[in-house]
């Protein structure tokens, strides 16, 4: 058993946390972009787009993220694509987040009264203009809480990337624990670091919510 001081452990964990942040950022941006495209596909013409999106969402919601991670990590090499753990985790989390965010945002768009589509359509606005100026600004307001809720889950879900050998925060915690045999202290510390990453998200969301509801 090696005895390490906190001042030695913490920097090591923070190095891992850096990767967690990077992975989260990739999943946010990739997932957000993907979900946005899925949303347009779902509501736009032609109609089979909606069916395809529905199927995609069903499949990704109905399978464990862990298995999606495995399938990308072991599946892409079969197609001749070399994948690093970061790339595999980034791709898997992007696919996963796209599906969930698309479904969350669909609920928000569906919550907008149908009269808003009628009125904007009757004025001659095309689909993308309706979305841009009428539907999405209203949907955004109700989308903030569930979206942020999901993003905090996503930050924590990056821990699964440790399973394909990616050395993010949880993996770093495991490594340190194996050396120090102080699981409670180390994992407590790891949890605290996750919390400090998630808290600003919910905090910003509250401010954003307040701002959006004032603009009425």
């Amino acid at each position: 058993m090696i005895s390490l001081s906190l001042s030695a452990i913490l920097p090591y964990l923070l190095m891992g946390a850096r990767w967690t942040l990077l992975l989260s950022a990739i999943a946010f941006l990739g997932g957000g972009t993907g979900a946005f495209l899925l949303l347009l596909l779902r509501y736009g013409q032609p109609r089979f787009g909606a069916k395809a999106v529905h199927l995609y969402v069903e499949v990704l919601q109905g399978t464990p993220l862990l298995l999606q991670l495995f399938l990308v990590f072991f599946g892409l090499p079969l197609l001749g694509v070399e994948v690093s753990p970061l790339l595999a985790a980034g791709v898997a989390l992007t696919l996963y987040a796209s599906a969930f965010l698309a479904e969350i945002w669909r609920g928000c768009v569906d919550a907008i009264p149908h009269g808003q589509w009628d009125a904007s359509g009757a004025l001659g606005l095309k689909f993308l203009l309706q979305m841009r100026y009428v539907i999405l600004p209203q949907a955004l307001r109700i989308a903030v809480p569930p979206t942020v809720g999901f993003l905090t889950q996503l930050v924590k879900a990056t821990a699964l990337a440790s399973i394909v050998g990616f050395e993010e925060l949880t993996k770093a915690g495991q490594i340190v624990t194996n050396a120090t045999f102080q699981p409670f202290v180390i994992y407590g510390l790891v949890a605290a670091i996750y919390f400090t990453m998630c808290y600003p998200l919910t905090f910003c969301a509250r401010i954003l919510e307040r701002k959006l509801s004032q603009s009425r």
Binding site: P113, G115, Q116, D118, A119, S120, G121, A122, L123, G124, L125, K126, L129, Y133, V134, P137, Q138, R141, S215, R216
Partner: protein, 257 residues
């Protein structure tokens, strides 16, 4: 004002909208049964009938908020075929006012009015705002321009909705029960605006239960029941000498007071 317009529509004004044996189904339910209707330029048509008779469906088919399945609909000579592209080009010429107003709650009154002129007609912001203020003044609500719709009364909201449609400078206006969601004391302010529009020779198709409006403003009254056009007549004949039994029954029910 109802007297100077010719009681029998002359052959001169061109046809604006024509429906030829239009049918529509919602699943098993047939909402429209071979509806035929011709509306000429400057004509003011009121469609009445019991609820569920297909009145709203007819006008929603004219700007394709609903699609018909059989028959033909022509708007200014252009047929709305099943795969019709660029429906926006038709819609910008056909204004519509809804029962529930459907103003955009996240935009101010002024922004509600300028959105489509800026984005669809590509007017500059300044031009669009001038136009908007002109129509807001016309519906006597200019002082509310910078408020959000939720701050206005129902009657004011509906007048804003009318102004919003007029900002596209449409050739035809469709009204889908514009006063049905209003408190009684606000109905008049909306009807007054509509009467002024009619006096300016706007082509109008209006689904309404306001029989007084039909009597004074309409050139033609259409009575619908069970998805069919039952009777078409000038208001004078329609109210004093209805031909069809169903029309008589309907009128006896709505004109009791």
């Amino acid at each position: 004002m109802q007297t100077q317009s010719n009681p029998t529509p002359s052959e001169n004004p061109p046809t604006m909208i024509e429906l030829r044996r239009v049918s529509k189904w919602y699943g098993e339910f047939q909402a429209l049964k071979e509806v035929s209707l011709t509306v000429r330029k400057g004509e003011r048509v009121v469609i009445c009938g019991p609820s569920g008779s297909g009145k709203s469906t007819v006008i929603r088919c004219i700007n394709r908020l609903e699609q018909h399945q059989e028959g033909q609909i022509l708007v200014e000579g252009v047929e709305l075929t099943p795969g019709f592209k660029n429906i926006e080009l038709i819609r910008r010429e056909v204004g519509m006012v809804f029962q529930q107003f459907n103003l955009f709650p996240h935009l101010t009154v002024l922004q509600n009015l300028t959105l489509a002129p800026q984005r669809v007609r590509k007017l500059s912001r300044k031009k669009a705002e001038e136009l908007a203020m002109e129509y807001l003044t016309r519906v006597r609500i200019a002082e509310q321009a910078h408020k959000y719709p939720s701050r206005l009364s129902g009657g004011q909201q509906q007048r804003v909705a009318i102004a919003r449609a007029l900002c596209m400078e449409p050739h035809v206006m469709l009204f889908d029960e514009p006063t049905s969601a209003l408190d009684p004391e606000m109905i008049k302010e909306v009807l007054d605006v509509m009467i002024e529009l009619a006096e300016d020779h706007m082509t109008m198709i209006c689904v309404t239960h306001e029989m007084g409006f039909a009597r004074t403003v309409a050139d033609t009254v259409v009575f619908m029941d069970h998805g069919q056009v039952v009777e078409v007549a000038p208001p004078k004949t329609f109210f004093s000498n209805p031909k069809n039994e169903r029309t008589k029954l309907f009128l006896s029910q709505v004109l009791v007071h």
